[in-house]
């Protein structure tokens, strides 16, 4: 004979599971519809999650190598990495083979996690606050403010889109400095220095990450 408590637990589990199934089914059915399109609130929710995850990592006190892995995971989860990588390659994305594109995307994600992860180290003891979101063209701009110790607050802006099939951010501006543009310039310079050889650039980028 189960006790009263056990029955209660069992019941709530069943209820939760059922609700979950319904929600899941609804999600699958409704997602392509217009009612589920990205809006300012959802863009803000995404950036709230990104910021919460970044804040958790920078206050975790984990080792640098672990933090870089954490940032890579955050980047993969919340950013539209294939679109960002393709943009960073610029015109060269057109002559890249499918294998080169996918290899570059993978290496680029690691490179970004390490490069920007090092910057986030400066955020230790600080926090990022999400301010507001608004629609711009076909996507959403979410403004945040970074508060660092002994530093005037500064603006960090995320651009969010659902064009990849899920809500993801595809660009970030730190005090007006455009991440996509800065990385396109850097990757372009790496290609130039290697006579446009995409494979060599990928191999060397792998070393940087």
């Amino acid at each position: 004979m189960p006790t009263h408590t056990q029955i209660h637990t069992l019941n709530s589990f069943n209820r939760r599971a059922t609700l979950g199934l319904i929600a899941g089914a609804l999600g699958v059915a409704v997602r392509p519809g217009a009612a589920w399109a990205l809006d300012a609130e959802r863009a803000k929710v995404l950036v709230d999650k990104v910021v919460a995850d970044i804040n958790a990592v920078i206050s975790s006190g984990r080792s640098e190598a672990q933090m870089f892995r954490d940032f890579e995971r955050i980047f993969a989860k919340y950013a539209d990495v294939p679109t960002i990588a393709r943009y960073a390659l610029g015109v060269d994305a057109r002559r890249a083979s499918a294998r080169q594109l996918s290899e570059f995307t993978e290496v680029f994600a690691r490179y970004m996690a390490v490069k920007y992860g090092k910057r986030f180290r400066e955020f230790i003891g600080g926090r990022i606050e999400v301010d507001r979101a608004r629609k711009v063209k076909s996507f959403y701009e979410v403004r945040t403010t970074a508060h660092l110790r002994g530093e005037a607050p500064f603006a960090v802006t995320f651009l969010v889109s659902d064009r990849s099939g899920a809500d993801k951010f595809f660009n970030m501006f730190i005090e007006g400095i455009n991440m996509l543009l800065t990385e396109r310039s850097e990757i372009g310079a790496m290609l130039d220095a290697r006579g446009g050889d995409i494979d060599r650039m990928i191999a060397d980028l792998r070393k940087v990450g």
């Binding site: 960002i84 063209k137 701009e141 501006f173 400095i177 310039s185």
Partner: protein, 258 residues
């Protein structure tokens, strides 16, 4: 003053060059200066910054930085006035008064503790407010990335701080020393970021140029709305072709616009 504005507008960019792009006709000589600055940083500034950061306790570094910044406040107020920026001027004046008194002569940034943050400005911004164009990109020896307008602004700013006319010779030297110490502290504090641009980038000249121009335009523009409105419309008209052909054309380019 009219002559100054005239000078500031010296190199008129090609009419096809818009505000979102880079105008760098002196690239060849700029790159030479950049190599000099890079070598100088590696040989002198970075080691000095590390030594300063390693020897001087963090708290004292902040005091020195605050002291130097407080002494620069009257110069910023002069520029606020020249720009007709009453709000910025009032904020910087308030900060100067609070920090000079409650902040023990500026060593403590009491105003920031109260939530009143500095409103940075300089004569380069004054020229911008007066309508001078940005001009060509210039990398200055020792001082680093700039534009024709900002370089002229820096020169004029040697004279815009009323304190320089009031302080005695030895006080001026302290003030200058505090300014240099502040720079070294910053070189140390942001060491990783500076290193990644200056010493780890595939083309540190292009990175420094791009980062400086974006950051400076952002500061002068204030909010990004003005920047958003125009380039988005342009990219919609031009389509994806242009976004790929000219990496500098559109700072807010839509990578999905294919």
């Amino acid at each position: 003053m009219a002559a100054v504005v005239g000078l500031a507008a010296c190199t008129a960019p090609d009419p096809s060059v818009t505000r979102g792009e880079i105008f760098d006709p002196y690239e060849e000589s700029n790159r030479k200066t950049h190599e000099f600055n890079r070598a100088l940083d590696k040989a002198l500034v970075r080691p000095a910054g590390n030594a300063y950061g390693g020897v001087i306790p963090q708290g004292m570094q902040e005091n020195v930085g605050n002291f130097a910044e407080n002494l620069s406040a009257p110069g910023m107020i002069t520029n606020n006035v020249l720009q007709g920026d009453a709000r910025g001027g009032a904020i910087n004046l308030f900060r100067f008064l609070i920090n000079s008194t409650f902040g023990f002569g500026g060593i403590i940034d009491a105003a920031t503790e109260f939530g009143v943050n500095v409103e940075y400005t300089d004569f380069g911004e004054t020229l911008h407010v007066w309508g001078a164009r940005e001009g060509a990109y210039i990398e200055l020896p020792i001082l680093g990335p700039s534009t024709e307008r900002d370089a002229l602004g820096k020169a004029v700013d040697l004279f815009t701080n009323p304190l320089t006319y009031v302080l005695s010779g030895s006080d001026r030297r302290y003030s200058r020393a505090a300014g240099v110490a502040k720079r070294l502290g910053e070189r140390n504090r942001y060491g990783d970021t500076v290193d990644s641009v200056l010493h780890e980038s595939a083309d540190s000249y292009a990175q420094a140029r791009l980062i400086y121009l974006q950051s400076r335009r952002f500061d002068l523009g204030g909010d990004m709305d003005a920047l958003y409105a125009d380039p988005y419309a342009k990219s919609a008209d031009a389509g994806a072709e242009n976004a790929y052909e000219d990496p500098y054309a559109d700072p807010y380019a839509d990578p999905y616009a294919e």
